[in-house]
């Protein structure tokens, strides 16, 4: 379980009922749970959980947090988010962190910001 804060801005907050910050408890990555069903004897030590990555978070947010117009956040087939959304991990462009493969830690703040074009 990884606890991260998700920020929505630039209009994306309207996809989540107007909430600009949402605390998300991210389930362990599938790779961490699929291992370790032992036979008799002492249970094997639990495997080190694979850290959740931003790709997991996007899928989770799309499925569990977004309440309307899900494709305006990400399409189901996307590995990332739709074009025009800036993704930040602790206020740094996710391109600097490995995009969808960036590992998340408790307390991280991941921001999804729709770019604006009005003026």
């Amino acid at each position: 379980m990884t606890r991260v804060t998700v920020r929505f801005a630039g209009g994306l907050e309207l996809l989540v009922g107007g909430r600009k910050r949402v605390d998300v408890h991210l389930p362990p990555a599938p790779s961490a749970t699929a291992v370790g069903v032992g036979g008799g004897g002492a249970p094997p030590p639990p495997p080190a959980p694979a850290p959740a990555v931003v790709g997991d978070l996007i899928a989770h947010v799309r499925a569990e947090v977004i309440t309307e117009r899900h494709d305006a956040f990400a399409t189901a087939a996307d590995a990332g988010v739709r074009p025009g959304i800036l993704v930040l991990i602790n206020d740094v462009d996710w391109e600097l962190e490995g995009t969808t493969a960036a590992a998340l830690a408790d307390g991280d703040v991941v921001s999804f910001i729709s770019t604006l074009h009005g003026g």
Partner: protein, 540 residues
């Protein structure tokens, strides 16, 4: 022997004439040749600032800035840049884009008595009134609206005449066109945007100094940029396409015209654009360009100077983006990625080598080329937008959408980017319908359904209409259908059936609703052009 009298205390010889009369040198004998006496007084408060001072004022006063878009961002940017004493300020907007009364709450360079005046002309009047020392010119913004004109200069040729460009436009196509022009022309670009209560600001095509991006990435150190086989570029000079290589879908673009905007929000961003431009321009030209990727610039393309401003305490907002949340009163500055190794316009692997012949409007709609280009719509746009569709929903009498509807990730949501095409028999002209609606028989025979968002309905509405916002319209059709039966004034023996007439703001969403109603078996019709075409209905 005559002794000259002391000069009268009440009238010190401040004017040059007075000095000469006393045999003293003129006022400009006391100042550098390129900082005339009137500048000393006018700019004294910024000249007193150690981080700015006369050197930077001289650089600013000999520099040239181009503001594209004379609306909510362009007005404050021009007023402050002009007041600060930029040497030459060029103002560009789409020819024919005139001041409207709906602009005045935020476009503070315009005035009520200049409604109907071209925006660039109106703003030039305002800047000249503040500072007659600035050379203010009005530039034809057609080239930035995506319209190639035979014999006309390309956008990159136009911007190359300036030391900085401020993107104050209001639509996706113009923003990418201006970005490409600035990269190809070698000009730094101060890009601002605002909608609703949110604003964003960054400076593209300017080398970010080490100071600018001092904050290291969190997480693992030295994480490589993944997803590409090209080596990372050394350049910190990023452009719009580095950060957003693909334009957003039209259905996710909001505009001030449809989503609304609080006036001070673009005001804040426009003022900050002026500040960033001043920092860029005040960098002395003698400072050489910082080394970039050796292969990045095209031959002959100049690189703007960079880096020096940061060294002296003025840090340009390059490779960072400022986010303004006006609803919460919060500013955040975030670090952007470095230059994209395969950027389509600023990398050695570039595919965009000229803006000429590129249909940016079609590209922003998700089509590489428009096979049949939509005709330009004769509507006023805030930004430089002629052939570029503005991001608002504009109906045409033909029923063919000439511009993407203003559906957006900012309110109001709209189900589709392009409303359906309806046969002419399903559509009514607004003026003829209004004339019959306001007769007793006409009203009794009609169920007028207004599908605008509730906030707009509360603003102004046709008497007797009912409000069912388009988002929930399809679900409400069965209930509405029951209200079609039993019109109270139905004559004896006549079928007491009322007709469902659907109206919206401009005649786009009403088509969506008509299609939904007819899908449910209700033979609804809509009003061509919506309430905007309704005679006497308040314009907003």
């Amino acid at each position: 022997m005559m002794v000259p009298p002391d000069p009268p205390l009440a009238a010190p010889p401040s004017a040059a004439n007075g000095s000469l009369a006393l045999g003293l040198p003129p006022a400009d004998a006391y100042t550098p040749a390129n900082l005339p006496p009137e500048s000393i007084s006018r700019y004294s408060r910024q000249l007193l600032l150690p981080v700015f001072g006369p050197t930077r004022q001289i650089a600013l006063s000999s520099s040239r800035a181009l503001i594209i878009g004379c609306g909510g961002l362009g007005c404050p940017a021009a007023l402050y840049l002009g007041a600060a004493g930029v040497g030459h300020l060029a103002l560009a907007d789409r020819p024919g884009d005139v001041v409207e009364v709906t602009n005045l709450h935020r476009q503070v360079g315009h005035t009520t008595d200049r409604v109907g005046v071209e925006k660039a002309e109106s703003l030039a009047i305002a800047v000249r009134a503040i500072n007659p020392l600035v050379n203010v010119t009005v530039v034809d913004g057609s080239a930035f609206a995506g319209g190639d004109r035979p014999g006309g200069a390309t956008a990159e040729a136009l911007v190359a005449a300036y030391d900085v460009v401020l993107d104050c436009t209001d639509n996706v196509a113009a923003r990418y066109l201006i970005n490409d022009a600035c990269v190809l022309g070698g000009v730094p670009l101060v890009a601002g945007a605002a909608v609703g209560t949110d604003g964003q600001l960054t400076v593209y095509n300017w080398e970010a100094s080490a100071v600018d991006v001092a904050r290291p990435p969190t997480g693992s150190p030295a994480t490589p940029v993944v997803g590409t086989l090209l080596p990372p570029r050394k350049s910190s000079r990023v452009c719009l396409r580095c950060v957003f290589p693909v334009p957003p879908p039209p259905s996710c673009v909001g505009s001030c015209d449809t989503a609304g905007v609080l006036g001070p929000v673009p005001g804040v961003i426009g003022v900050l654009q002026a500040l960033e431009a001043i920092k860029v321009l005040a960098t002395p030209a003698a400072v050489a360009a910082a080394p970039d990727d050796p292969a990045a610039p095209a031959p002959g393309v100049p690189l703007p100077p960079s880096g020096a401003a940061a060294a002296a305490g003025l840090t340009v907002l390059a490779r960072r983006m400022l986010l303004f949340d006006g609803a919460d009163g919060a500013f955040t500055t975030v670090t952007l990625r470095p230059a994209r190794p395969d950027c389509a316009v600023c990398s050695p692997a570039r595919t965009v080598t000229s803006t000429a012949g590129v249909d940016y409007a079609a590209w922003a709609r998700g089509k590489p080329r428009a096979a049949t280009a939509a005709p330009p719509v004769a509507v006023a746009a805030e930004g430089a937008a002629a052939a570029v569709p503005r991001s608002t929903d504009v109906d045409t009498a033909s029923g063919a959408p000439a511009a993407p509807a203003g559906s957006c990730s900012v309110v109001p949501f709209q189900p589709s980017a392009l409303p359906p095409h309806l046969p002419p028999a399903w559509r009514l002209p607004a003026d003829a319908f209004a004339a019959t609606y306001f007769t007793p028989a006409g009203a009794a025979a009609t169920l007028l359904v207004d599908v605008r968002p509730a906030a707009q309905y509360q603003l102004c509405a046709v008497p007797g209409s009912v409000n069912v916002p388009v988002d929930g319209f399809a679900a409400a059709v069965p209930d509405l259908a029951t209200r079609l039966i039993g019109g109270k004034d139905a004559g004896e023996g006549a079928a007491a059936i009322r007709r469902m007439v659907i109206v919206c703001r401009r005649g786009n969403q009403s088509r969506v609703a008509v299609a939904a109603a007819r899908g449910a078996g209700v033979e609804a019709v809509d009003i061509i052009g919506g309430l905007a075409a309704w005679p006497g209905f308040p314009a907003y």
